[in-house]
Symmetry: C2
Subunit: 181 residues, 2 copies
């Protein structure tokens, strides 16, 4: 369960409500998470139970009241332990590779057509990431080093998509050249 730490991390930065967390996960590139209501609200209750966060209700006129969560000292030290813990290797899940593995049954034009679509998908992801990243410019890191780390997280994602693009372009080029010869 790492959504717990994704949330704890954000709370270590500043207080959030469940709704704020959801928006942040959706709109951010660095702090992206496929966080849906269900998981977020459940995890927040769990954080309360474990004493890693506390909450207080903020009433607003014209809008529903919000429950704002603040991290505790216990939460901070739990987060630090996790950050120091053994990193897991990155996981690549790319169903397209499975599609490609069985694509020899396709005609040359069909094969190039799905490669083109894939290239398009990857380009879109890259654009979306860059756009989110741009809008995130205001995000104030607390130190210069933190700003650098966040930049490098973003850079990792960019490099991932660019790498994927060079791969698919090379594939398309090589397949086309073999057709001609």
């Amino acid at each position: 369960m790492t959504i717990k730490y994704a949330i704890l991390g954000l709370l270590s930065w500043k207080p959030f409500s469940g709704y704020d967390l959801k928006k942040t996960f959706e709109n951010s590139s660095e702090f992206y998470w496929s966080g849906n209501n269900n998981q977020i609200y459940k995890t927040l209750v769990q954080l309360l139970n474990e004493g890693l966060a506390v909450n207080h209700v903020e009433f607003q006129e014209a809008y529903p009241a919000k429950k704002v969560y603040t991290i505790t000292d216990k939460g901070l030290s739990e987060l630090k332990n996790w950050v120091l813990s053994m990193p897991e290797p990155p996981e690549l899940r790319n169903t397209f590779l499975t599609q490609l593995a069985w694509a020899d049954q396709l005609r040359d034009d069909e094969l190039d057509s799905i490669l083109e679509k894939y290239e398009y998908e990857v380009r879109m992801q890259l654009l979306m990431h860059r756009e989110k990243s741009r809008r995130e410019g205001a995000t104030p890191a607390r130190t210069q080093r933190e700003a650098y780390l966040w930049k490098m997280v973003s850079e990792n994602i960019v490099m991932f998509y660019e790498n994927e693009l060079t791969w698919v372009r090379r594939l398309r080029k090589e397949l086309n050249e073999n057709l001609i010869s």
Copy 2:
């Protein structure tokens, strides 16, 4: 549900038993899948029910009987439809990026130490992939084009890890240089 198509793909190549599929998913780099017993045996039953595969029992002396599954024409056309369908963009799940985002609380040496561990993990994954790939040399693709596609699937995975390595090495170098200045 894409394990269905991962299995269907392998069955389009040659007949497999559940156990064979599990071994293949575990030991292969191109056809890797986190397929566990539970999912594989359930999906095979599903394939039977949908008429995408048929099975027959092979008795063996000294070993338990095995159920060997063969793809049907319906299965082949279902697979082709899927291969031609809209590719999904690749998904990157890297919990380490979340760890790194909140690593500014660490001392310089602690930070470098987790980066070193991450670099090690990635190097190990790359080695493991290369080793699996080497042992897979016997895998006989049916056409030259298929062999090329499989090579490129493998190449994609190599590039992914190499990309990750250059990123983490750059990160470590830049952090160290900033310390000195």
